[in-house]
Amino acid sequence: MMKLNRNQQLAAAALSVCTLLPLAALPGCTSSEASSTPSGGITPQQFADGVHAVMMADRTVYATHVVTNLQKQDAPVKAFEYWEDTENSIPLPAQMFRMGAELVDENPEAGFTYALRSKWPLNEQHQAKTELEQTALDYLSDNPGENFYGEEELGDQKYFVAVYPDRAVAEACWSCHNEHPNRGDDYPEFGKDDVMGGVLVRVPL
């Protein structure tokens, strides 16, 4: 089993508590069962799966219940790429996601990084940056519904890399992507639940 550093263990413990506490309230689940942690800690894959679940839940809620809801209500406030300089604008779901990743980047205690990647990036910063990332995106395309796990070495540091399919969860996602001026000639016409790219979690080993 790969070992996690102290910060990753703390993050994993916090995540476990957040995940398991609600279970403790369910009938048939005693508090001692819910709060207990697996002996020997968790694997980097379990850690990555956990943080991915949290970040995707947050973004899905934002895309569905904020952005799409504003659209449906024909509200004056809209999600817009240039929101910082435009009145009545809020960040796009992808931007909200990236800003969260940047805040994690600012936190030296976080112990991991995450990012969006795509074979058809509307933002050049989201294209695959390593061979493993390219392999992962190809794998997600060829194996719908599956995650990709691997390891790579960058700058004398070994990393566990998990890449999860990034699906179009709300109409706001695919309609905006399909109509985006930055789309290339080979850009697919996305629809509900299509894999538009990957969510990458990288954990130093």
Binding site: Y82, D85, E102, D105, T113, E124, K129, T130, E179, P181
Partner: protein, 472 residues
């Protein structure tokens, strides 16, 4: 022991070389004292001996306070031989970079996939591009890196931006195109949004200051005070002219009495002079920003105020020893903001740009406003451009860091010029050295292309999208 020392001393005195040895010892001792004092003494001329080379124009004002940059004890992370100066950079410039929406913050490079790039160019360390005390390799904006640094990461830019093909590698950061840190006036959507503007806007006017709303601290404007209500201690002889001046100011109008600035009503609490900290109680943003510019940065590190004789720009000799504190531009007791906006600057500054101001069309507009023939906000003083009016959370206030809109000067385009001019005209003027020297008395001779290029880029994108939508 004392007998031994005495015998050595006697032998030394009888030596024919004693005077030479004494001289040698005295010289060495003097050198040691000179350098030793410079090392431990507070910021002063004695520290000059330790300067390893000429300091940049942005830091020379505080160069004798070595610890402003080199004190490891001030690092938030504790003493560190490797990053102490990086920490000092962030202390003074971190907030400025945040406000400028820094397009290359250190956090951007924390993604591990940047490891190879960082090995070539460590973009997380300020000193990679901004070394100090190396005048022979220092370019504008304190850049000590060859000007083609963008190429290391953006060499394939022409793949996504065909318009950039065949452009010189060192031309990216020339005026009107890109900056490494501050691109608020240069990013493509902003350029496109301002495409097609006329050189001179029909509605050319500065935003009005909301001084009262932007005041800080606990003091809030009170009822107006009359001259008879001045609360200076009775024993203090106050010139009637001082009282008359005060009674005409916004201070009296807002209920700011003598003791608010000069201390208590008791003689022992009264002070003839007013410290900057007193001004700061109500004008916190103004004083804080004053201390981040070249005028006030010495005060920020606890050094005596800047004086024009220390400036590297040409100054009028008569003002050589004028102290640059709040009163330098806002002399009591009138605190005349109109005087502070132009005449205060011109009483010291004697460079070509400043000397050309009085003959410029900007100055004519300012004189018209002062005379009442021009609308309020239509005049252009020195302060109009160099002390921009910032739309803050509590209202529009005047940024007193006169260098903030010059780091680099495209910052001025967005904060100032575009109140009256089109963006393309503004960027072109700021990119034209001749136009700058003449204080913008001459229109720019060449037009920068970035606004047009950005517009064409968006037009192409729009055309492609429409063509795609029309396909069956």
């Amino acid at each position: 022991m004392s007998i031994q020392i005495r015998s050595i001393w006697n032998a030394f005195r009888q030596s024919p070389h004693a005077p030479k040895w004494l001289t040698w010892a005295a010289i060495n001792l003097s050198i040691a004292v000179y350098f030793g004092f410079g090392l431990v003494a507070p910021a002063s001329i004695s520290s000059t001996a330790w300067l390893p080379g000429e300091t940049t124009h942005g830091h020379y004002q505080i160069e004798l306070d070595c610890n402003a940059c080199h004190d490891p004890g001030r690092s938030a992370d504790g003493p560190s031989g490797s990053d102490v100066m990086q920490d000092a950079c962030i202390r003074c410039h971190g907030e400025q970079l945040d406000l400028a929406k820094d397009t290359h913050p250190a956090k951007k490079f924390r993604d591990p996939t940047n490891a190879e790039r960082l090995a070539v160019l460590d973009a997380q360390n300020c000193l990679s591009c901004h070394q100090e005390h190396v005048p022979e390799q220092t370019l504008t904006m304190g850049l000590t890196m060859p000007a083609d640094y963008c190429w290391h990461c953006h060499q394939e830019v022409a793949d996504s931006r065909p318009s950039h093909r065949d452009m010189a590698y060192d031309s990216c950061a020339t005026a009107g195109c890109h900056n490494y840190h501050d691109n608020r006036a240069l990013y493509e959507k902003y350029l496109d949004d301002h495409h097609g503007q006329p050189d001179h806007l029909e509605l050319a006017s500065l935003p009005r200051r909301s001084t009262a709303a932007s005041l800080s601290g606990v003091f809030r404007p009170d009822r107006p005070l009359g001259i008879d209500e001045a609360d200076h201690p009775p024993a203090e002889a106050v010139d009637q002219r001082v009282l008359d001046d005060w009674a005409t100011t916004a201070h009296a109008l807002a209920g700011v009495n003598c003791t608010h600035c000069h201390g208590g009503k008791d003689d022992s609490q009264w002070s003839e002079t007013v410290a900057m900290e007193s001004c700061q109680r109500c004008h916190a943003d103004q004083v804080a920003s004053f201390q981040t510019g070249k005028h006030g940065m010495r005060l920020a590190v606890g050094m005596p105020a800047m004086t024009p004789d220390q400036a590297r720009l040409p100054m009028h000799a008569g003002q050589a020893h004028a102290k640059l504190d709040c009163n330098a531009c806002h002399p009591g007791h009138r605190f005349d903001t109109q005087f502070a906006a132009a005449e205060a600057c011109l009483q010291c500054h004697a460079d070509d740009h400043s000397l050309a101001y009085r003959d410029s069309s900007h100055a004519t507009l300012w004189q018209d406003e002062l005379a009442g023939s021009g609308a309020v906000g239509s005049g252009v003083s020195c302060a109009t451009c160099h002390l921009p009016r910032i739309d803050g959370e509590t209202g529009i206030w005047v940024n007193h860091d006169q260098n903030a809109s010059l780091r680099p000067n495209e910052t001025m385009a967005r904060q100032v010029c575009t109140h009256c001019h089109g963006l393309e005209y503004s960027l072109s003027a700021l990119a034209d050295p001749r136009s700058i020297t003449s204080c913008f008395g001459d229109a720019p001779t060449e037009r920068i292309e970035s606004v047009q290029m950005a517009h064409q880029w968006f037009e192409q994108r729009r055309a492609k999208r429409e063509a795609r939508l029309q396909k069956p």
